[in-house]
């Protein structure tokens, strides 16, 4: 049989699943991009919150007012992290559906590390709860322990993105799947590291704006909750953080873009990304203006900043998607092709079977006693012991009584302690069982038991 599905030498081409998608591919992709962005927003806030909180806590060892600020930030992490997880399931469902083969292949190639997500995130979450709920109790000599817990949580949050990034990066480059064995080698594919730094800086910038909005909102009693700070001070502090982090993206952004593997970079990608960058520059200018604003005016531009930033995020998310599609375009054609060819073979074979022609070469039509006996031959041999008595012994008991054999095979008992009990073969049907019974008696009659 010639192999009809010659696989490309360069990349593995798996076959697609047979069942149709439950929803149009386009709709699913819209779902995927939007749901993913919502998910990643909370991941950003969880990660950034954790990092800032522990940094402020360390500063707070010298300047106590920062300790309270760190604590207020830590209180938000446990909420944001719960939302991050639960909102991650939606995009996970979508990516499983739309990129089934690519995602699962990348999962399998980095499996040991991939599954560590579960215990690592659990530990990181428990550590942030511990950090949050021991703030008042672990003071004095135990403060160092408390800071350590905070650092551990932040460190875990900083490591875990690698596990995700390596997967969604690896799935884009099927031509490299053969070169990858395990998590660490997958980090060499594509441009994981620029993506990572881009992501971390974005997290810190967004967290700056979130903390600003949350901790200086109108109803929030800043003087009570954050002694030592005034509302404008809080605003200026977090505006600064957001500003410098966004400024840093001017380095990481181009780094990411120019280290992208060539295949997948298209004109459309550039247009979308550059319009995002242009909007981000406007945001930068507005942030600068806010930092320089007077106490009574600071904070006025927050809503337009957030709106523009949403546009930036949408542009970047769309850009990512365009790149992914362009990367996988060729491979998807190959998959569709391989799937269609296999499906054609499958259908042709089924039609042959339905027409009573047999599947072809290897499958025979119509049972014979000899053929049915294959079901028995693994345990019963003619005149030696396999896993059950030899046929000569069977024949001695059921001489001229094929129906007796049929009855036994349908409802076997257990006679001999040295063998495993025989299973019932009633599901083969009386006709076949009778055939095999006669076959057994026939072949044993040719053997002389005395020999």
């Amino acid at each position: 049989m010639i192999n009809l599905l010659v696989v490309s030498d360069l990349m593995p081409v798996p076959r697609d699943l047979e069942l149709p998608l439950p929803l149009g591919e386009f709709e699913l992709k819209i779902f995927l991009v939007l749901l993913f962005l919502v998910h990643i927003l909370f991941v950003n806030l969880m990660l950034g919150g954790s990092v800032f909180s522990v940094i402020f806590e360390i500063i707070g060892l010298k300047f106590p007012r920062y300790d309270t600020l760190a604590r207020r930030l830590a209180e938000t992490i446990t909420v944001n992290k719960s939302l991050a997880v639960v909102l991650g399931v939606g995009p996970l469902l979508c990516i499983n559906l739309v990129y089934t083969l690519h995602f699962y292949s990348a999962n399998a190639l980095t499996g040991y590390a991939w599954i560590q997500i579960v215990p690592l995130v659990i530990v990181a979450f428990l550590a942030s709860y511990l950090h949050k709920y021991t703030w008042e109790r672990w003071t004095g000599p135990r403060k160092r322990l408390h800071v350590t817990v905070g650092i551990s949580a932040a460190f875990l949050f900083l490591c875990i993105p690698f596990l995700f990034l390596s997967n969604i990066n690896l799935m884009l480059f099927p031509e490299q799947w053969r070169q990858v064995s395990g998590f660490f080698s997958s980090l060499r594919v594509g441009n994981v590291f620029p993506r990572y730094f881009h992501f971390i800086t974005a997290s810190l910038a967004l967290t700056g704006l979130f903390a600003l909005a949350w901790l200086s909102r109108k109803k929030y009693p800043v003087e009570n909750k954050l002694p030592g700070f005034s509302r404008p001070e809080i605003r200026r502090l977090f505006y600064r953080l957001a500003y410098y982090m966004t400024l840093a993206q001017l380095v990481f952004g181009p780094l990411l873009l120019f280290t992208l593997p060539y295949r997948g970079v298209t004109g459309l990608l550039f247009i979308v990304i550059l319009s995002g960058v242009a909007t981000a520059l406007i945001v930068l200018l507005m942030l600068r203006a806010e930092i320089k604003a007077t106490d009574d005016k600071i904070g006025r531009r927050l809503i337009p900043i957030c709106i523009l930033l949403t546009l930036v995020v949408l542009a970047m998310g769309t850009g990512r998607h365009i790149y992914r599609e362009a990367c996988l375009a060729e491979h998807k054609v190959l998959i569709a092709d391989a799937t269609a060819r296999f499906r054609a073979i499958e259908t042709a074979t089924r039609m042959r079977l339905e027409a009573g022609l047999g599947a072809g070469d290897a499958i025979e039509t119509g049972p014979t006693g000899e053929k049915v006996f294959e079901n028995c031959a693994a345990c019963h041999a003619l005149n030696r012991v396999l896993a059950a008595p030899p046929l000569t012994e069977v024949a001695a008991i059921y001489k001229d009584d094929p129906d007796g054999i049929v009855a036994w095979t349908k409802n076997p008992g257990k006679k001999r302690p040295q063998f495993a009990p025989m299973p019932s073969f009633a599901h083969l049907g009386d006709v076949r069982l009778k055939m095999v019974a006669e076959y057994i008696l026939e072949i044993t009659s040719e053997v002389n038991p005395g020999e």
Partner: protein, 462 residues
């Protein structure tokens, strides 16, 4: 393919999924109604002790469910994708809308548990307290609804009802095991939540206090009240299972062994239930008598019972992962004739060899093993193939011809096994490989550790 050489892939799934169930049933579905009831009772009778207790228990629930509970839930997705990508991928295409709805409810559940716990102290008076209790009630309903949906899918895996013909979401949901299993799990969750609360009482109330006595009595009452519907639901489920089981597994031997095991299990379970009920009764009549640590026993018993139900459930679905559509090893029923005629290697993506020759018999056999057997079996670890055969044929060197004969027809003699999805040449290779494993064990590397796979495959494609 992902593969755990010693423990077997099944273990990974079993650990994550069991942990999830152990958290989900007592800590979420069953516990939210219980704490809400306590809160309401405290509010109604003006006893702040109840409120404090409910708050403390909710703190435990909050921490556990939003960490271990949530992540093991996601972990089931991740591990299923590693172990049975074709199976979970297909299930997802059938049940997308069910899972999507469940996800929305799940989001609401997480938001509600955060609101419920984090506003407890702020919404403490008058109207806001009523709102807070309302949040508790809504939370209870939502967390139960997630169970309502998931159990439908679990039921589907055990018996697909009319789905193979109709192929619609509804036909898949309306499977015969659904309602009994749902009733069983719901009442079971309510009881184990009581067991959990019992246990935590001894940390959260003062020893010898009047309130502890009342709390023990209250929780005991809760357990006793739910015992009656639980017993009824168990009987119902109990009686439906063997019917489905017999429909799927028509082998007298298995049914015999199963029946025996089933009966013993039934007796043990009955004993466990009676023990729990008796403890509850003592709790009501003589709340003082019960020592704190003693209460961990009924809790562990409850978990043990649940574990057995999960085992039976997993066994019934075999040899399929999607009933009558896809076998446990990811082979579809309808592609079987092609694979048995042409072989599975030519159609596989990640293999070293695409044709079996006399030179590569053992190596091609290993490829076949990884594709067709390794979803459930290891070589020499848990559920290892070599042991399966030496159990049957004894310790002497295995005969590869006998192995071949056995595997060719094993779906008839062991009806929980799928038919071998390859041609005779591949069967011969597999037999040679297994025989070699018996003489000379070597570990299998998987896609992540196999540094050789790329070298071989890249060069030797047909």
């Amino acid at each position: 393919m992902f593969f755990l050489d010693f423990a077997g892939n099944r273990i990974l799934m079993a650990v994550i999924a069991s942990l999830h169930v152990i958290i989900n049933h007592p800590f979420a579905v069953g516990a939210y109604p219980l704490v809400t009831l306590m809160e309401w009772w405290g509010h109604k009778t003006g006893q702040p002790d109840w409120d404090r207790l409910a708050y403390k228990i909710t703190f435990v629930l909050f921490i556990i469910t939003t960490t271990v509970g949530a992540l093991t839930g996601v972990g089931i997705w991740l591990s299923a994708a590693l172990i049975a990508p074709f199976g979970i991928g297909s299930l997802l295409r059938i049940f997308f809308w069910a899972w999507f709805t469940e996800w929305l409810i799940f989001v609401a559940e997480v938001v509600l548990i955060m609101v419920y716990f984090l506003t407890w102290k702020r919404w403490a008076e008058g109207f806001m307290k009523k709102v807070h209790i309302g949040v508790g009630v809504t939370l209870s309903v939502f967390s139960w609804l997630t169970m309502v949906i998931i159990v439908a899918i679990l039921g589907f895996m055990m018996g697909s009802g009319t789905w193979p013909d109709q192929r619609t979401l509804f036909s898949a949901l309306a499977n015969p095991l659904y309602l009994p299993q749902l009733a069983f799990r719901t009442t079971f969750a309510l009881i184990t939540a009581g067991l959990l609360a019992w246990f935590t009482l001894f940390f959260f109330t003062d020893t010898g206090s009047e309130f502890r006595r009342r709390a023990v009595r209250f929780v005991s009452g809760w357990i006793l009240v739910w015992s009656v519907p639980f017993a009824a639901a168990s009987l119902w489920y109990w009686n439906v299972v063997p019917v489905i089981m017999q429909a799927n597994v028509n082998v007298a031997l298995l049914t015999m062994r199963f029946a025996l095991w089933y009966e013993t299990l039934a007796q043990l379970m009955a004993a466990a239930v009676i023990f729990i009920a008796l403890t509850a009764l003592i709790g009501i009549l003589r709340p003082k008598v019960i020592p704190g640590l003693f209460l961990i026993i009924p809790f562990v018993l409850g978990i043990w019972l649940l574990g057995h139900f999960e085992r039976v459930r997993e066994f019934i679905r075999k040899p399929y992962v999607v009933a009558d559509y896809m076998y446990s090893n990811g082979v579809r029923v309808s592609e079987l004739p092609v694979l048995q005629r042409d072989g599975i290697l030519p159609y596989s993506t990640y293999v070293h060899h695409r044709t079996v020759t006399s030179d590569n018999l053992v190596e091609a056999g290993r490829d076949v093993f990884i594709i067709t057997c390794s979803r459930c079996h290891t070589t020499a670890g848990i559920n290892g193939v070599v042991k399966k055969f030496t159990d049957l044929y004894g310790q002497e060197p295995l005969d590869s011809n006998t192995l071949r004969l056995f595997m060719k027809t094993m779906h008839n003699s062991r009806t929980f096994m799928p038919p071998f999805p390859g041609n005779d040449k591949e069967l011969e290779a597999l037999a040679a490989y297994i025989k070699k494993l018996q003489d000379d064990y070597e570990p299998i590397f998987n896609a992540q550790t196999d540094w050789t796979i790329k070298a071989d495959t890249a060069g030797s494609m047909p």
